[in-house]
Symmetry: C2
Subunit: 210 residues, 2 copies
């Protein structure tokens, strides 16, 4: 029963932070939506900041795990490993659209929590993606390129649809919460990996001849 | 003198909305920072929502203008036109980093203002980008592809660095407010256009032979 209350609080806060913003949500609102006593929230999370921190942690624990799982394929090649990372993150975000949108919006603010997340989880993310790209370059699978600029573009591609779900629904009429979208969009990012990052067959032939 | 007060109010609100969020900023805070009487703000903008709406309008008026200017190059080819659009938007965002970050964060919320922006400015953006891509496909400059998925990726690439300036500074140690970054990043997006969207020389030759 206690576990359920805690879970209900987290679910309610993700929903309310998302719709009304962190500042626009009170502990009272969360307690009402979660059908718990406000004292329960204080017991588990201290205050609203504690709750937001908890949301960040559950998101990034899983997020980094998905990257690590994709990194596990590195022996099969850098492109395969990077594609696995892309697939894992996309499916994770797809299965957690509300939490994802909340986190992607909040991470753009300059707060104490965000600084801590950056120095831990996002440094790990950078570490793994850099290793994959550097390995790809050494193996001549990938072109010579700056890993940080690739990371930047990759994150732009991965996060855009989940931060901007209203835009997708209202302007593009593409539904980010449909399985069809995720599968198609994963293939689009694969094309980016093949077209921008990989040495093309043409380039490979050119290098071999010269 | 009146013009200066109005401008000072807008500058102060962009700064404060950005740092403390829209909900975390009061009219009092803005008046103090802009060194004006709170009644002045009410006179020009009614209330905080009016101010935010004004920020949206000044951003998107220029944003769509930059797209239209790039679209003006369409007779020289779809890739040239799309690259011009990319260059214009990147430089515009670079010259207005605070305003850009504020808008890119706020646009992810589901509010009345955001819905109005989508049904006007972002529909126009979609219209121009779709026309460029469709023209590129017809002229066999571009591969067969879904314009909406390309728009989605393009926006992800264009906006990522300006929404996530802290991430860039703290994790990647890349400085989005340096001219060097913008020039290099524009070239990276050109590579995406060439590698993902354009028929490569290899493909062209292949098509010609077959």
């Amino acid at each position: 029963m206690k576990g359920n209350a805690k879970e209900a609080i987290v679910r309610a806060s993700i929903n309310l932070f998302n719709v009304n913003g962190f500042h626009g949500t009170s502990i009272r609102d969360i307690a009402k939506k979660a059908k718990v006593n406000p004292a329960n929230i204080a017991y588990y999370f201290d205050n609203k900041h504690g709750l937001l921190e908890h949301c960040f942690t559950i998101f990034f624990e899983r997020y980094v795990e998905e990257i690590e799982n994709g990194y596990g394929f590195i022996e099969q090649g850098a492109a395969i490993s990077l594609k696995k990372i892309v697939e894992n993150i996309m499916i994770f975000q797809f299965e957690n659209t509300h939490l994802t949108r909340l986190i992607l919006r909040e991470i753009s603010l300059d707060t104490q929590i965000v600084r801590e997340i950056m120095s831990t989880y996002l440094m790990k993310e950078r570490y793994y993606i850099n290793r994959v790209i550097e390995k790809g370059i050494r193996a001549e699978e990938f072109r010579h390129t700056s890993p940080d600029y690739i990371t930047l573009q990759l994150k732009g591609l991965l996060h855009m649809p989940f931060l901007n779900t209203h835009y997708m629904n209202e302007v593009l009429h593409v539904r980010p919460n449909e399985k069809y979208f995720v599968e198609k969009y994963i293939r689009e990012i694969y094309k980016w990996i093949d077209g921008v990052l990989c040495q093309s067959e043409y380039n490979k032939a050119y290098v071999a001849v010269n």
